[in-house]
Symmetry: C2
Subunit: 404 residues, 2 copies
């Protein structure tokens, strides 16, 4: 007997019929002798509807009240799923975040899970119940409802799996697992059987939207094995797990891309110590995340500083940067939105040199110009013209032998 945590996303519970399908899968796992804890998202479209209502009430909704509204989406799903299981004769019980409780900090809309009290769930599991928990939500120390941000249900599932010391955390989605790249771009993209937390973290943050970044951080911290798989078939998906010897043999595990960033270049800045801080601190004060940062070598005492933000933040970031640029006597500010970030990720890079060179050559051979470069121990990202995104992904996928 194993303890299995399963998470079903919005598409998997998008209609009452799909919720019934999910129930069948849960029953199969339960009947096989497992203890089952299920985490569900809101029915697809519901969260957007709730957000639209909030937007109709005011320009910038109060965060506490926004969470009160959007948390209802998951609450509906848990009730519907639990009542269906009960109507089929199974013991099932729904839990909202505050009922578990899943304790979070008070950062409404982006709350972080602090602790999970598993007493009630354990007692119900022992009594033979199937547990249905609302994803995406928790409760802070003052009894306010909080939500974990888009995709937060993944984190709810992994955190529950950690708290319950579950044998596995299955994340059901509409794809078969993690692919070497986007199959919509590369027909020969292949499913990865096993991938390390660190590689998954890089891929998640690079725009491969299968898992929420924080859920992978959580899984790594508590060594929770995540099984990403399809809710439409019985295929084995991808296991996200601790790094092992085999994984290091693979130079590059995947190619990711992200069209969601924009570039801001501050040109002709007098090259003095502290200019990067003076430019970027106001942005972090305004809670605008900056991704890639490049500072060119100085010519004639002037230097250029280029960085990327999400397209959604561009307008606000530009406004802030304009002010900061005046203070440091920058000559000009240039922005560019039609860019893309293309990245390769692999544990093997750590022990093999020359991966970056191979990447740059492959792109240059195909006349794709590189505007920015950023690297980590297991990742190399480049910024290129947006129109070359698909081409670059295909080139790199082939260059590093990822085709099926």
């Amino acid at each position: 007997m194993a303890l299995v945590v399963q998470k079903y996303g919005g598409t998997s519970v998008g209609t009452t019929d799909r919720i019934k399908n999910v129930a069948s899968r849960i029953i199969k796992t339960y009947e096989a002798g497992n203890e089952v804890v299920v985490v569900v998202s809101a029915m697809s479209g519901e969260t957007n509807k709730l957000v639209a209502l909030a937007d109709a009430m005011c320009d910038i909704p109060d965060n506490r009240e926004y969470d009160v509204v959007v948390a209802t989406g998951e609450q509906v799903t848990i009730g519907l799923l639990a009542m269906h299981l009960k109507s089929l004769g199974y013991n099932a019980k729904s839990y909202q975040g505050w009922q578990v409780p899943i304790k979070t900090d008070s950062t409404f809309s982006k709350a972080r899970i602090e602790s999970i009290d598993d007493t009630k769930i354990r007692a119900d599991l022992k009594a033979g119940s199937i547990i249905i928990v609302a994803g995406f939500q928790g409760v802070d120390k003052d009894g306010n409802v909080t939500t974990l941000g888009r995709g937060g249900s993944d984190t709810s599932a992994v955190a529950l799996a950690a708290a319950l010391k579950a044998d596995v955390c299955e994340i059901y989605t509409d794809v078969d697992g993690i692919y070497t790249t986007d199959p919509n771009i590369c027909k020969d993209a292949t499913k990865v059987d096993k991938i390390s937390y660190d590689e998954m973290l890089e891929l998640a943050s690079l725009g491969a939207k299968v898992l929420q970044l924080r859920s992978v951080e959580f899984a790594k911290k508590y060594s929770v094995d995540i099984h990403v798989r399809s809710s439409l078939n019985e295929n084995t998906g991808t296991i996200v797990t601790r790094e092992d010897k085999d994984m290091e043999g693979i130079l590059v595990s995947g190619v990711a891309y992200d069209k969601n960033e924009a570039k801001i270049a501050v040109l002709g800045v007098p090259d003095k110590p502290g200019i990067a801080a003076r430019l970027l601190t106001p942005l972090s004060d305004a809670a605008i995340p900056v991704d890639m940062i490049v500072q060119n070598v100085s010519h004639d005492g002037l230097t250029d500083l280029t960085f990327t933000v999400t397209k959604a933040d561009l307008k606000k970031a530009l406004q802030i940067t304009n002010e900061a640029a005046k203070e440091i006597d920058a000559k000009e500010i240039v922005t560019k939105e039609d860019i893309a970030k293309v990245s390769i990720v692999g544990l093997g890079m750590r022990s093999h040199s020359g991966v970056a060179t191979r990447m740059f050559s492959a792109l240059s051979k195909n006349n794709i110009n590189i505007a920015m470069i950023s690297t980590s121990e297991i990742k190399i990202s480049v910024v290129i013209d947006e129109k070359y995104t698909e081409l670059a992904v295909r080139i790199l996928h082939e260059e590093f032998g990822l085709a099926g």
Copy 2:
């Protein structure tokens, strides 16, 4: 400075624009120097949508999970209203039932309020906040979400007013108050300025659907003045309050009708002690409320027993009655659905005789046949053919001088 509890029903908060109108009214009350606690229902139509989802999941939804689903309707409204008030610069805070907490028993879908802890709300009121509470919902001793049944938000409001010792409980609706009868039937129906709890209880239970019955019971028990008024204008509505000397002078305060009942007649029953109990106990065991009961005088050792149930319960009630009738050797069972109950209510009846005679004569003069009669201290009800309902109401409204 007064403490005002205001309740807004589903129609008053039916769209985001209407919620904004409600906010204006709340602000007006707050700016006049009052402490304001607001109870809201789900946006009109939302509860029906949630019920439809539950119905799609199973034939008879589990009560606990049903409450989890339908309680979301009110949760959305409190969040939207609170965020709008905050965006206008007012301190506002939403409360779900469990957050107050409003403690109920565990009768899911028809829970009864047991106690309200006013500590948190009092503290927030003191800090200048406008309090927005989800109507219709509470929490039981085990931390399960419960709901109070249709119209339960009225009861939430009155119970909060009692707990907070509010100066008044304003129930906002889409009519101007309590009328002497349904203005759709009688063009000259008039608004009643003041009515006693007992009269309102009779009217509420007789199908004048302005207030939930239990809310009036609660108001009577804790002497809470209810002000029923329109959310569309500033008119004074009807005050539901303790009985006073003036009220006794009025013979009949209102004429009510109810087309929602059906009649079951059990004919040719051997007239022995205990037959009524043997017929009716199985119905009460099945939680089917029986309203009017009439047993005719016995002829040749045989008697007839007639009673009414709601049309919704008819099928089930008939099945149960068929079995019970066999056991007591009844000859025949006859049902009739096209009936209506028409009633007059008034404190004055207690001290004036002849009211019943006047009622029966007025109906008979117009050739309306009376099938059943039932009376209480302050009410006389008759069952007639459904097609005469409107005529009977108009006749009685005129007979007792209720026209404007």
